[in-house]
């Protein structure tokens, strides 16, 4: 098992490369979740009517 992680001396490079990728993906997923929560909360407090987007489009 330790030889698997050592990767014949290349362990640092391999696990750094994969580690950064995993970290970046986890951060993206967490940001997606928190943004969705914030946007849903914002939508809850918005009174129903024409969407702000379509208002802007008719200007």
């Amino acid at each position: 098992m330790s030889s698997f992680f050592a990767m014949n001396g290349y362990g640092f490079y391999i696990w750094s490369a994969y580690g950064i990728a995993v970290l970046a993906i986890v951060v993206e997923i967490l940001l997606l979740r928190s943004h969705r929560k914030a946007v849903l909360a914002q939508a809850r407090s918005t009174p129903s009517g024409p969407a702000p987007d379509s208002v802007a489009a008719t200007e």
Binding site: Q42, D53, A57
Partner: protein, 248 residues
């Protein structure tokens, strides 16, 4: 098939469709990543020339492919949005940019950690690496421009023009290894060394490429759902969603 695909050009019909698709693509990405990593990190034998460092390419190459491919898709949606003034196309372009930036970042960092043991350097101002770095700045530029403009419809047009202008960088990245004699090599895996080894390496790379596809689709669709709610809030159908009413 008589499905009317234009029906899904409306955010109100696309929102639930995307919601159904996200978990399938996410699960597909997870399964393919597990298979790809197993083949690439465990099953594939050590390369006799590069040692185990070559295992980074199973991450690097699919990420680099996706970084370029997603840019073209983003620019395609931007072109549709500019040409037909369709809101959903602009929202798709907006949703792809962060995942494209993520793939570019992974391609650059994994490349650096491969280059250090293989070439003796983390970074060189080589044509391919420099143009890939410019790709990251293009993605970040599109995201920053979006955040700088308050009116979403104006932001759509400005980001669309920037995204389309940046497309010129994609063939530069792709052909850089042919046009200039640079540090970055042309072929990624030498398929001629040993057929058995080459095919298992290729298998891992292709499985990881499909995993990257599935992940990018899942992330983009999840993000476009949030963008739809953000931009269409106040519309009756948004207010009627169970997740907005809080009844769920």
């Amino acid at each position: 098939m008589s499905t009317n695909w234009f029906r899904y050009a409306s955010p109100a019909t696309f929102y639930p469709l995307a919601g159904t698709l996200v978990p399938w693509f996410a699960a597909g990405a997870a399964v393919l990543t597990a298979i790809g990593l197993y083949i690439g990190l465990v099953a594939a034998p050590t390369d006799f020339q590069q040692g185990d460092a070559y295992r980074i390419i199973f991450l690097h190459v699919p990420a680099a492919w996706m970084s370029m491919f997603l840019y073209v898709v983003m620019a395609g949606w931007s072109a549709l949005a500019l040409g037909y003034n369709t809101r959903l196309s602009a929202m798709m372009a907006q949703a792809i940019a962060p995942t494209g930036a993520l793939m570019t970042l992974i391609a650059l960092t994994s490349g650096a950690f491969w280059g250090r043991p293989t070439w003796g350097t983390y970074w060189a101002w080589d044509a391919r690496m420099t143009s890939e770095l410019i790709l990251l700045f293009l993605y970040l530029g599109v995201i920053a421009l979006r955040n700088a403009i308050e009116d979403p419809r104006r932001a759509d047009r400005a980001c669309g023009v920037l995204a389309l202008t940046g497309v010129v960088n994609i063939p530069i990245i792709y052909f850089s290894v042919q046009w200039w004699n640079t540090l970055h090599q042309g072929a990624t895996v030498s398929l001629t060394k040993s057929p058995a080894m080459a095919s298992i390496m290729l298998a891992s790379m292709l499985v990881m490429a499909f995993a990257a596809w599935f992940y990018a689709i899942a992330a983009s669709l999840a993000r476009v759902r949030t963008i739809i709610v953000e931009r269409e809030r106040g519309a009756a159908w948004i207010a009627a969603l169970p997740e907005v009413r809080g009844a769920a």
